[in-house]
């Protein structure tokens, strides 16, 4: 049996310290106590520090996540001053570039940006080969006086760089709660970072795959694009495809909480396996809502605010026979309704069953990719080390099944797991952030099999008490 392949993956980051104030938690806290904004501002990082941060370098592919284990913690103190914002898998763009991308992706004439910021963005994004001069020149800047008036009149929220107002995000409607400036900014951030990732992906395959040779786009992120009558209407995929220049494609969104992106890869593979398409791009944009989610603990412990980056991922899935590892569609892990909510049943459904179907034991998988959230972000607020907790569940099940000795749990985690490195951007951290690394390692002959498992906390939406998840094996 042959399987679809993954042939290219882009992992990108956009530094967004000025947008931390619009993250869900900071926004609510600032509304209650405006002085919170000063406390947050005092702990925001510079672009240089965000670039030099180990986990970010791991995300964009300049450092292997496994290598973070040997770096002294806290990683935010052991920065790499010589680190590049150009990663093997994608760029870590600065905030001016991000604002320029928001403007570029804005189709409703709601983003206002001053000429200086627009110019800086055009220049730097151009140097990265991610925009054309023509498309940036077509964007009209806004006069500072107009920006100030929009914010003063309550029609727009300010966009800042280094504390200075350089632009504004206007609301889409005077009354529609689904079209407030904050909601639209959240959605546009998802679009812009998805576009950034997809454009980077296109550059990676330039010369082999042209934009009009990508048939379909699936987006797997967690925003809700719509209006008051259809709050989650969606299809941001098509908007992203349009802004990335995939003229002959269309697409749709896959929505499943944090499992969205991995499900989207599964869905893309299934479409190709069925012969419907030859090449499908999967794209995930970042989450504005999750910026500064744990800021309280970081501020309380005199740490920089680490949740200051939006993330994006783009994945190219192609037919069997293309150059890349295969997605084992014959052994997908599914958390069915009958699986239920017992932790053991969940891990069996997502790990043991797929391995059984593929004829493998736990140790036959070189690396497991689970919820790869950076522990430096989560530990200060008491949320623990999320990847480690998940690895220990897998290892413990292995011990219960007699595949590893009881005192071999730590060793299993060390050998088959890795430190968390992804920003706490929900679906981004759920396994998919490791596809780029696995692809590279498999192409280099250093890895044979990796198992990707993502969990979705459906219960948060109050429509079910069930949780969810999906997994698959990627094989060289």
């Amino acid at each position: 049996m042959t399987f679809p392949t993954i042939t290219a993956v882009a992992n990108v980051l956009a530094h967004a310290p000025g947008l931390v104030r619009y993250g869900s938690k900071p926004l609510r806290d600032i509304a209650q106590d405006p002085s919170t904004l000063d406390a947050i501002t005092a702990r925001l990082r510079t672009h240089v520090d965000a670039v030099g941060y180990g986990p970010n370098q791991a995300f964009i592919g300049n450092v292997e996540p496994e290598m973070l284990a040997s770096r002294a913690r806290p990683w935010w103190r052991s920065l790499d001053g010589g680190a590049s914002s150009r990663g093997a898998f994608g760029d870590l763009v600065d905030e001016a570039e991000l604002l320029g991308l928001l403007k570029l992706c804005d189709r409703a004439r709601l983003v206002h940006l001053d000429a200086a910021t627009l110019g800086a963005a055009a220049h730097r994004l151009g140097e990265r080969g991610l925009v054309t001069a023509a498309e940036m020149e077509a964007l009209a800047p806004t006069e500072p006086a107009r920006i100030a008036a929009l914010c003063r009149d309550g029609e727009a929220i300010p966009l800042t760089l280094g504390g200075h107002v350089v632009g504004a995000m206007a609301r889409g409607h005077e009354q529609d709660e689904a079209l407030t400036a904050n909601v639209l900014l959240e959605n546009l951030c998802g679009k812009a970072t998805g576009v950034l990732a997809l454009r980077r992906l296109l550059r990676m395959v330039e010369g082999r795959v042209a934009p009009d040779e990508i048939d379909f786009v699936l987006a797997g992120s967690e925003e809700a694009v719509g209006d008051r009558y259809q709050r989650g209407g969606g299809n941001l995929a098509k908007a992203i495809a349009e802004s990335a220049g995939l003229a002959t494609a269309t697409g749709f969104d896959v929505k499943a909480f944090c499992a969205s992106t991995l499900y989207a890869v599964f869905n893309a593979a299934a479409l190709i396996q069925a012969g419907v398409f030859s090449r499908v791009a999967v794209v995930a944009g970042g989450s504005l809502a999750k910026l500064g989610m744990k800021y309280r603990a970081h501020v309380a412990k005199d740490m920089p605010i680490l949740e200051d980056v939006l993330a994006g991922i783009a994945i190219l899935v192609e037919r069997p026979g293309a150059d890349g590892p295969r997605i084992r569609l014959d052994a997908v892990g599914l958390h069915t309704i009958a699986t239920g909510s017992a932790q053991q049943a969940i891990v069996e459904a997502l790990v043991v069953k797929p391995l059984d179907r593929a004829g493998y034991r736990l140790r036959d998988i070189d690396r497991y990719a689970t919820e790869m959230h950076n522990p430096e972000v989560t530990e200060p607020s008491g949320s623990g080390d999320v990847p480690k907790g998940n690895y220990r569940l897998i290892a413990a099940l292995g011990a219960m099944r007699g595949e590893i000795p009881r005192d071999g749990i730590n060793d299993f985690v060390a050998r088959h797991g890795m430190p968390g490195y992804a920003p706490t951007q929900g679906h981004i951290a759920s396994a998919v952030c490791y596809l780029a690394h696995a692809l590279r390692a498999m192409r280099a002959g250093k890895m044979r099999r990796a198992l990707f498992m993502a969990k979705g906390s459906l219960f948060l939406g109050r429509m079910t008490e069930a949780s969810d998840g999906v997994s698959f094996i990627l094989e060289a």
């Binding site: 909510s341 999320v386 219960f459």
Partner: protein, 43 residues
């Protein structure tokens, strides 16, 4: 040694530890009443 029977329980589970439904099933089986149940997801 606290006896669960007859107690009224606030269940606060965690996705990657023991989740809400699991705790609920257990404490109900021991004769407790569940007043409130949730599963926290820290990320």
């Amino acid at each position: 040694m606290i006896e669960l029977k007859g107690k009224r329980v606030l269940v606060i589970g965690e996705r990657d530890g023991v989740n809400g439904p699991a705790i609920e099933a257990c404490v109900r089986s021991a004769g407790a009443e569940v007043l409130y149940a949730e599963t926290l997801c820290f990320v």
